[in-house]
């Protein structure tokens, strides 16, 4: 199975990982290179010591009675072995024949001269030895003696110095790496800051905020900001056009509709055949529904328009509620509904918010309450003030409230399944919801015992 791992990393984390990786690679290279250079320096030191030793040994080669004799310099050997407690081996051959030293010590392939000795590494008795080798001609009684001299030293001193240096070097590299990581962190933060600011700016945009985003962004983001702003302004104008169009349309429909309704009523009055009368009543009902939908579309358009530009004002909330209730009394009378309104809120209590939106919310709630109430029942409206909110509770006996689907309740053009006989568009509660959100209030509609529907509107003080 070919599973693709999709690791979603933030730009900051990507930057941190990349910079961290680079810092690690550079630190590792620095460590290796410095170590290499230092170990070369230590080897060079050992080579110098060996060169000096072999030169001092050369000085101690004598010709005694036509034979070669060597007087090994005590201090040189002492020095070679005491620095790092290193093992010392040596061998001197004369004309290819072993003269003195370690006869089983293997001779290297390369020999230098006293000015430029040859150096090699060799394994002997389980130790890696550094070997200096020279070939030198000595004359004795006009006879040529070819001497091959080697001195071998183990590498304890080199190892101990390298270990000490490595330990220090490791700490230095670690410090360098941590500093680099710190800078990587700072760099990532600095780089990401304008992007984060831009993202925050974009995040704040929504239905309630369609202002342009700031164009004070890094060059790379400028095209994006500009495109976004163009998009926002186009979106805004499209939105406005749509709303205007809907409002215009609704308005234009309502006027001819009232003509159709009044003409139909006139025709109904004059009509004598029961078939025609029934048809005319259906027409009048359809016209009523269309009229109502048009009004609500207008309401909706208005709410959307206000959403962008709420016009807050101070007004007496008690008076506002009372006025709306009074407007609905004639309609209630038609259905023989009794509106019982009780309020403990004083009329001098004011709120500061968009009154049109508030009125629309209350009106739609009341409209719904009346519309779905059983005939000859009671609609109870209770308006109180709590510590934080004004609380408007509207209770009515629901004609068909078998159950309320909370998910569907506030959706546009969605209506309950038992509401088909009742004139309505399904926009009412969604208009309430939007208006309530804009003014910072909250709405809750739920069914209670005894087929009662209770709508609670909370408006903050």
């Amino acid at each position: 199975m070919n599973k693709k791992f999709n690791i979603n990393l933030s730009i900051k984390n990507r930057l941190l990982i990349q910079l961290g990786f680079v810092a690690f690679v550079i630190s590792a290279c620095l460590f290796m290179i410095t170590r290499l250079v230092l170990s070369q320096a230590v080897t060079a030191t050992q080579d110098s010591l060996l060169t000096a030793s072999i030169q001092s040994l050369m000085d101690k080669i004598y010709v005694v009675e036509n034979t070669i004799s060597v007087d090994l310099p005590y201090d040189t050997f002492s020095l070679l072995g005491s620095v790092g407690e290193d093992m010392i081996f040596y061998r001197i051959d004369e004309n290819g024949v072993f003269l003195t030293g370690y006869d089983d010590f293997p001779m290297p392939k390369k020999f230098g001269n006293i000015q430029e000795p040859a150096f090699t590494n060799m394994e002997y008795l389980g130790e890696t030895l550094r070997i200096v080798a020279i070939e030198n001609i000595v004359f004795a009684m006009d006879k040529q003696h070819k001497l091959r001299i080697i001195i071998a030293q183990s590498q304890n001193f080199q190892k101990s110095v390298a270990n000490k240096i490595s330990a220090n070097l490791f700490l230095i590299t670690l410090f360098f790496f941590l500093t680099a990581i710190l800078f990587a962190f700072l760099t990532a933060n600095l780089t990401i800051r304008p992007i984060a600011r831009f993202a925050q700016d974009v995040k704040m945009r929504g239905p309630q905020n369609l202002r342009k985003v700031s164009e004070d962004v890094p060059t790379e983001l400028k095209p994006l900001a500009q495109s976004l702003n163009e998009f926002i302004s186009r979106f805004r104008s499209t939105l406005r056009q749509t709303e205007t169009f809907i409002a215009e349309a609704a308005h234009h429909i309502r006027t001819p509709l009232s003509v159709v309704r009044s003409e139909s009523e006139l025709a109904l009055r004059k009509s004598k055949t029961p078939g025609n009368r029934a048809r005319l009543r259906t027409i009048i009902k359809a016209v009523d529904q269309t009229n109502r939908s048009a009004s609500q579309l207008l309401d909706h358009a208005m709410v959307l328009y206000r959403a962008e530009r709420p016009e807050a004002e101070a007004f007496s909330i008690q008076q506002a509620v009372a006025e709306i209730i009074n407007q609905f009394r004639p309609a209630a009378d038609l259905k023989d509904l009794d509106i019982i309104f009780s309020s403990d809120v004083k009329s001098i209590e004011t709120v500061y918010l968009d009154r049109t939106l508030f009125d629309t919310s209350v009106r739609n709630l009341l409209d719904n309450a009346l519309k779905y109430s059983l005939a000859e029942s009671v609609v109870t409206i209770d308006f109180t003030k709590t510590e934080t909110d004004f609380k408007l509770i509207i209770k009515n006996h629901y004609s068909s409230a078998i159950f309320l689907d909370q998910k569907q309740l506030f959706k546009k053009f969605r209506r309950g399944e038992q509401t088909k006989e009742i004139v309505g568009s399904g926009l009412g509660l969604s208009i309430v919801m939007e208006a309530v959100n804009i003014i910072g209030a909250s709405i809750d509609v739920r069914k209670m015992k005894g087929d009662i529907v209770c709508a609670t509107l909370l408006v903050p003080c």
Binding site: S69, V70, D71, L72, P73, Y74, D75, F77, S78, L79, L80, G81, S82, E85, D86, M87, I88, F89, L99, T100, G101, Y102, L125, G126, E127, N156
Partner: protein, 341 residues
Amino acid sequence: MRYLISSLLILLHINLANALTIEASRSYGVDKAKSDLKILSSTDIDVFHPVLSAFSALNPTISVNYSTASTADIYRAVRQSDSQFDLIMSSAMDLQMKLVNDGFAESISILENLDIPDWSQWQNKLYGFSLEPIGMVVSASHFNQGELPNTRRKLIAFLRANQETFQEKIITYDVTTSGAGFLLATQDDRQSNSFWRLAEVMGSLESHLSCCSGQMLDAVNNEEYLLAYNIIGSYAEKRSKRQKNLRVVYFQDYTHMLLRTAFVPKNSYNAATASNFLSFLRSKVGQNFIEEETGMLSLRSNLLNENPYYKPIRLDTGLLVYLDRLKRQRFLDEWSAALIQ
């Protein structure tokens, strides 16, 4: 009898299979038939006995077998790897250093005593455990306290002034047969030019050459000889308590300090036990025992700090040079020319 009944003393016992001459041998600990730790040493049993007894008492589960041989025999035995020992102790620093340098020693870790100076060990292989000042022993009855020469230069002048008295009355190591004698003479050669003048004087006085310090001390005590040069101090001082005619003189131009050293050979069966023993020797308890019971000096002896003329022979690869075939021959030729006239 001073020694335990179970102790075994074999004089001049020749192990034919190994060609190693064991001079003496003794076992310590509960199970003497089966020893856990086999030590081959050049230090006499009666000198080292207190230390071995103390170690045995502290470690009752370890049985110790201590054998002595000459430094040259020890060197040969290790080099040929034909005898199996767990610890090699010798006063011939140069031979010990050569064996270790040539890869015959095991690297061991021992419990380090912080008081012990760093120069007393080499490469975690060769460990010093006691110091021996090298001096001159004279027959007390023939010297007044005031006329004892305390430098080599004064000794040369003194011998020249009293040629008749000292004719054939000086004894010293035969460096051709004695490893310790060779080491001491070569260190003299390295240290000072007056050694060769002294050698010339000793040669002109027909000095006698001997293999062993014991013989030389007996001869001086008997007044057979009046002066013995290059004698290990601890032997002489221990003897001087019994042999009242012996007086030990340490020269103030320089007095060499010999370091007795030990290492664990590669073919050891009991390297861990050997390390334990070595740790004990270098511990505070061990060092105190060495100083108080054997007459040898502890490694942290105050003498070194108090008297600048006490010079420890450095434990490093410089010791190898006089073992070089050509250099050794050259030295022996010079020495013979000076001493055997």
